[in-house]
Amino acid sequence: MISSDPSKRNSFERCISDGDLVIVYERHDSMKAVQVKIGSEFQNRYGAFKHADWIGKPFGSKVFSSKGGFVHLLFPTPELWTLSLNHRTQILYLADISFVISYLEIVPGCVVLESGTGSGSLTTSLGRAVAPSGHVYTFDFHEQRASLAREDFDRNGLGSLITVSVRDIQGEGFPDEFCGAVDSIFLDLPQPWLAVPSAARILKQDGILCSFSPCIEQVQRSCDSLRQNLLM
């Protein structure tokens, strides 16, 4: 998704090649992330599409199935990736994701922590924001979810920017090795206030914490905890 190699980035000159990740766009509410592999076929209600037919075409091309149905092949972005996910947890909406990135004041080079990982939708956007020299460390206590997310980041090319760990941040806090090295922290936990003391300890001076909660009571309690822990 993100690369410093100009020949890998999307452009008029860049064509789909073997091994590329493409977003197969069926409709605005229906798309799939697919790894191009000569010899493979993509099947949907519009028919069967040979991957081989895709190679050499620019991203953004309309391609046809044996039955004459069509899809568009798009260059992957965090936004399209999120839309193509099978959601393992409730995900943040694009408006929330973009807002969080702005509020966390993330720029390339930042070190960012996140818990939980969830379906990795926000993580992907965090990865884009810290690239090329920063890093995202994301934690989830759910073993299966963490390993699925890890596989996803390897697939979408963000593996080198994101480290997924299994850890109960509410119970254990963030690892001490991050102390004073973290620019921004994002919490999406049922009891975020439990993670606040640890977050306060490891954030850099003027570092930023954002917490996302569906209910006002969680926000109230988190604010209490932030007032007690985060002010200098």
Binding site: S4, N10, F12, P58, F59, S61, L73, F75, E79, V107
Partner: protein, 491 residues
């Protein structure tokens, strides 16, 4: 003077783009009394900030970490700003929270309060004489409370309100904030929304996400929001890729707000301008010969400033913002003028005038280490760069031009974006976006077309006093987003 430290910091800055301490000449955002007043300032030794009727020098803020708090301290030499550290329980109400589950049950109320103006025993003369005797702001607030005959009869809620009001007047706080796309956007939105086309921070954030802005992107922008969009894109690029500000006609668009961001030369050099004619033109050699030479440009910038000024020049004009600038630069040798302000936009003059000033390279011998190094943002894109973009296309497009006819513009600009490149268009009105969306749909130039209405509601969250902010703007405009595809009448 913390200039050595600043010099080091700048080099470090070039790396991390995320500096934690202020330096001399640095642009900062000052938040007075929890958002009551927001002021952009440049931290020079001559700069002052007016609070109430008094001016305070800003020198004590130089070298402090962003996020520091300052208050007025009175000493034998008069009063000045001094850093202070709030206790971790800043509100008296915090203890209350521990005692009560919900809104506190209280047996005091205001039934016995009668409206008249005799409740305060302290006269303004009394307060003035306390001040002369060197009382701190907190001491004055305490005295006001002690001498209020009604304070004890008020509810905790009303007591709190009274105290906050008096504190703001007699013991003002100044928070030193890092200028960042978010804080810059919020400050302008609050104080001078028309300057930024009423582009609210959530809408700005959405534009950046929808256009997939990240390292190594080459982003085409049409920015009539004073450079806020351009600066926000450059912040995300972190010295990689390019943000190209385009314009129609002969004069480029002002991007003054970019100067508020404290960008390093690395980041500034990635902000370029190019007319739409140049971007689509066949083989147009009009652009100046060496626009990518940072040295030449930095020198140019200084050339237009008065040579005898003793403060770093290249940053000064930033502060000449009619609406937000409230800082008084007391250095008499320096004078603001319309001419200097127009210098903020070196590209507003014709390419020829620009080339001419380039020839004056080196005439300015001003030895300030910071300004010497700093490349200004918004140089003209080189022929080389323009050729690359013609060949490869921009990776995405953002339009924030609420007062322009977007429909025809978007289709034109979209032809410069590579296939599968995303785009986002901000506008005040739904109608022009709906027309644009319809035309893109029929031309088959784009898919995944969608119009969004950004929505934001802020809350005060305080123990027993949580509520939505009353003055949240309900108006966030609209965003049309989509992805360019192959084929269609536009390609």
């Amino acid at each position: 003077m913390a200039s050595e430290d600043s010099g080091d910091g700048l080099r470090e800055e070039t790396m991390s783009a995320n500096r934690r301490h202020t330096w001399e000449g640095c642009s900062v955002l000052l938040d007075i009394n929890d958002g009551d007043r927001l002021v952009f300032a440049m931290l020079t030794h001559g700069a002052t900030l007016k609070i109430g009727k008094k001016k305070f020098p800003l020198a004590p803020l130089i070298g402090c970490p962003f996020g520091s708090l300052f208050k007025v301290e009175t000493s034998s030499n008069g009063s000045h700003l001094a850093r202070f550290f709030p206790s971790s329980a800043p509100e008296a109400a915090t203890e209350q929270v521990k005692d009560h589950c919900h809104a506190s049950v209280e047996f005091k109320d205001n039934r016995s309060l009668v409206d008249n103006n005799t409740a305060q025993g302290l006269s303004s003369e009394d307060i003035d004489s306390m001040r002369r005797e060197g009382a701190t702001g907190e001491e004055i607030v305490e005295a006001l409370i002690t001498n209020s005959s009604t304070f004890d009869k008020k509810t905790t809620f009303s007591q709190e309100k009274y105290k906050v009001k008096k504190q703001k007047k007699y013991a003002p706080k100044v928070l030193l904030r890092r200028p960042f796309s978010r804080s810059i956007c919020e400050a302008y939105f609050k104080k001078s929304p028309t300057r930024i086309g009423s582009l609210r921070v959530d809408a700005l954030s959405l534009l950046l996400s929808m256009a997939n802005v990240g390292a190594y992107s080459d982003v085409l922008v049409l920015d009539t929001v004073g450079g806020l969009l351009t600066g926000a894109v450059a912040e995300r690029l972190g010295g990689t890729g390019y943000v190209c500000c385009t314009y129609f006609g002969s004069s480029n668009l002002p991007i003054d707000i970019v100067r508020m961001f404290n960008f390093s030369s690395d980041v500034n050099s990635r902000i370029v301008q190019a007319s739409f004619t140049d971007l689509i033109g066949e083989d147009n050699d009009e652009p100046s010969s060496q626009p990518d030479n940072p040295k030449a440009h930095a020198a140019n910038t200084n050339t237009l400033l008065s040579a005898d000024s003793i403060i770093p020049k290249s940053l000064v004009p930033v502060l000449h913002d009619e609406s937000l600038e409230e800082v008084i630069v007391s250095n008499a040798k320096f004078s603001y003028s319309k001419e200097i302000f127009s210098e903020l936009n070196p590209m507003q003059t014709s390419p020829h005038a620009h080339s001419r000033s380039l020839n004056e390279d080196g005439r300015n011998a001003q030895p300030c280490s910071i300004s010497e190094k700093l490349i200004p943002p918004g140089r003209k894109a080189s022929t080389e760069l323009i050729k690359t973009w013609k060949r490869r296309g921009f990776t995405s497009l953002i339009v924030a031009a609420p007062e322009m006819e977007v429909d025809s513009l978007v289709q034109k600009l979209l032809s410069l974006i590579c296939y599968s490149g995303p785009f986002a268009v901000y506008h005040h009105c739904l109608q022009p976006l709906a027309i644009c969306m319809h035309n893109l749909q029929t031309s088959k130039m784009a898919l995944s077309l969608q119009i969004s209405e950004p929505w934001l509601r802020e809350y005060q969250v305080l123990p027993s006093r949580t509520h939505p902010h009353m003055q949240t703007s309900g108006f966030g405009g609209y965003i049309l987003s989509g992805i360019r595809v192959c084929g269609g009448s536009g390609s």
